[in-house]
């Protein structure tokens, strides 16, 4: 992308430098143009779009079902969360609700991906600041979480686990038992992570008071998720407008006071604990029953029936080749993904594809606050700020 590196102020004594788009500390293809006065940042211009794939345009040319695999590739650290968000949006448009067991499975998907995404954030943002040990610990546990996801969905990243009206298949009793082992082990693991960082002098010096964002600024920037909560605003979509039965689980919404990099660290650590707590409750309350709606016009029939019955074969063929119709209307449905509020605004004119599918990206809006945060900070702190915003460029650029 040919972006000129031009000084943004008229000062002759500043130095303009380029960081990225391929830089180990930008967490993907993010480019940042910095104007420095000595080591102090005078101006910062994040350049995004290197991973833009035109997903909103693609959505207009695919059936609703065909778009689910694209949601895997938005926030590629938590594909399951985006799968759930998109399925909920289309279900909202159709006015259908999935059965209780499916809702519980979707909560498992959302919370498991929150833990996985936060583990990557913790490992990489600590690595950025020189704490390499952290990375090995979190990635070891992240492999455990990936083993679970792979056994549930068949893939580590390209999960495509949800369908409009349900999920692809049920979780087995054995899988739920193995999830239970993970849930039991994680609190101790999180204690270990905290032992390495929470009171570590170097970590405190690198993160406290850095990248401060006041509550008013955070709201003005439309920041959501852990970054907003670290600034002291207790807004969580799961609490404010529950979906998938989140209102039935006990969990706390951790908030910070300073809005700095350290508070974002504390908030995410606590969020992992709360996710474990939710998973534990889901495992104790998950009901038996179907995992998809009983509507052959929307949901694919079971494979065994497709191979033995003419009617199901036709339904399968029609849904896969033609898709199903949604009523005319428009809906905005938001879910709390690991980065914040992910919203799908779908405009339907009737028909089998969205007329317009707007993806309100949490990471895009959070990243927009970067320039404000780093102005006046040291150049080394830019890395800490980027890490604390946890941008995933797949979702920023879409």
């Amino acid at each position: 992308m040919p972006v000129q590196i031009e000084p943004s102020t008229d000062r002759a004594d500043t130095l303009t430098i380029n960081m990225g788009p391929s830089h180990p500390a930008t967490h993907g293809v993010l480019r940042v143009i910095l104007e420095l006065d000595g080591e102090t940042v005078v101006a910062c211009d994040p350049v995004v779009g290197y991973l833009h794939r035109g997903m909103e345009k693609i959505a207009e040319n695919r059936t609703y079902l065909q778009f689910i695999p694209y949601t895997d590739r938005m926030d590629y650290l938590s594909p399951l969360a985006a799968n759930v968000g998109f399925a909920l949006a289309v279900e909202g448009l159709l006015g259908i609700e999935v059965p209780p067991r499916c809702q519980s499975l979707r909560v498992i998907c959302c919370e498991l991906s929150r833990i996985g995404a936060h583990l990557v954030w913790l490992g990489t943002s600590a690595l950025d600041l020189g704490a390499a040990t952290m990375f090995f610990h979190t990635f070891k546990d992240r492999e455990w979480h990936y083993d679970l996801i792979e056994d549930l969905t068949g893939a580590r990243l390209t999960t495509s686990y949800t369908r409009v009206g349900g999920v692809v298949h049920d979780a087995t009793a054995d899988w739920l038992k193995r999830l239970h082992d993970f849930v039991r082990a994680m609190p101790g693991r999180i204690d270990d992570y905290e032992g390495l960082l929470t009171k570590n002098t170097i970590w405190l010096k690198r993160t406290q008071g850095v990248g401060k964002l006041s509550a008013a600024d955070a709201l003005s920037f439309g920041v959501t998720g852990p970054v907003l909560r670290a600034s002291g605003v207790a807004y969580d979509v799961r609490r404010a407008r529950p979906y998938c039965g989140y209102e039935n689980y006990e969990f706390e919404v951790p908030v910070g006071t300073e809005g700095d990099v350290y508070d974002r660290y504390l908030v995410r650590i606590e969020e992992m604990r709360q996710s474990v707590r939710i998973l534990d409750q889901v495992l104790r309350t998950i009901p038996d029953g179907p995992v998809n709606v009983d509507d052959p016009k929307i949901f694919l029939p079971p494979k065994t029936r497709v191979l033995t019955s003419m009617e199901e074969l036709i339904h399968q063929f029609m849904i896969v080749t033609e898709g199903f119709e949604c009523p005319p209307g428009e809906i905005y449905v938001a879910t709390e993904v690991p980065k914040g509020e992910l919203g799908f605004y779908i405009v339907s004119e009737g028909g089998k594809a969205p007329y317009r599918c707007r993806i309100r990206s949490s990471a895009f809006n959070n990243l927009a606050s970067l320039s404000h945060q780093v102005r006046g900070e040291l150049v080394a702190d830019v890395v800490a700020c980027i890490g604390s915003l946890d941008p995933v460029m797949g979702e920023v650029d879409r």
Binding site: H52, R241, P242, E330, R356
Partner: protein
């Protein structure tokens, strides 16, 4: 349904109709989510009132985007999603403008308008008056089309 509170935004639209009777063009709802179409010349006045009046108190601009309706006149519909933390309420605000706009930028009111309006410009070519830095954000700077306009095909042979 679980995903939407009933009558989301309805109370604010009633207040808006009383406060700006000449600015409200149309309103409607779908699955409990209410939307209002505003006269484009009053876009930022109405938005500012929605933000500042304690009865509406929409402190967050969640998103700004557009929908292209090539067979309608005017063809572009700007769509903004507002959120109020204090009332836990949402409102979808729209304005219908010409092919390239223009419409007043909401950047003086919310800083989240900055990148979102840049993206809307990048994708649709709509000009936001008063935007401090209206340039492409996702597409390359030397790109000449506006990808989300309906006349642009998904594939170009």
């Amino acid at each position: 349904m679980g995903v939407t509170a009933p009558a989301e935004g309805a109370a604010a639209i009633e207040l808006m109709a009383a406060r700006f009777p000449d600015a409200l063009v149309e309103s409607g709802s779908f699955r409990g989510q209410h939307w209002a179409v505003i006269v484009p010349s009053r876009w930022s006045d109405v938005a500012q009132w929605l933000r500042d009046d304690p009865r509406t108190d929409y402190d967050v601009l969640l998103d700004v985007t557009a929908v292209h309706w090539p067979h309608r006149d005017p063809p572009m519909e700007i769509v903004a999603h507002l959120h109020s933390h204090s009332r836990n309420d949402r409102l979808r605000l729209k304005a219908r403008v010409g092919d390239r706009g223009p419409i007043a930028s909401l950047t003086p009111l919310w800083r989240s308008a900055d990148w979102n309006e840049r993206e809307t410009f990048d994708m649709f070519g709509i000009v936001f008056d008063g935007h401090p830095d209206l340039r492409r954000i996702l597409m390359p700077e030397d790109y000449t089309d506006f990808p989300l306009r309906k006349e642009l095909p998904l594939f170009r042979g």
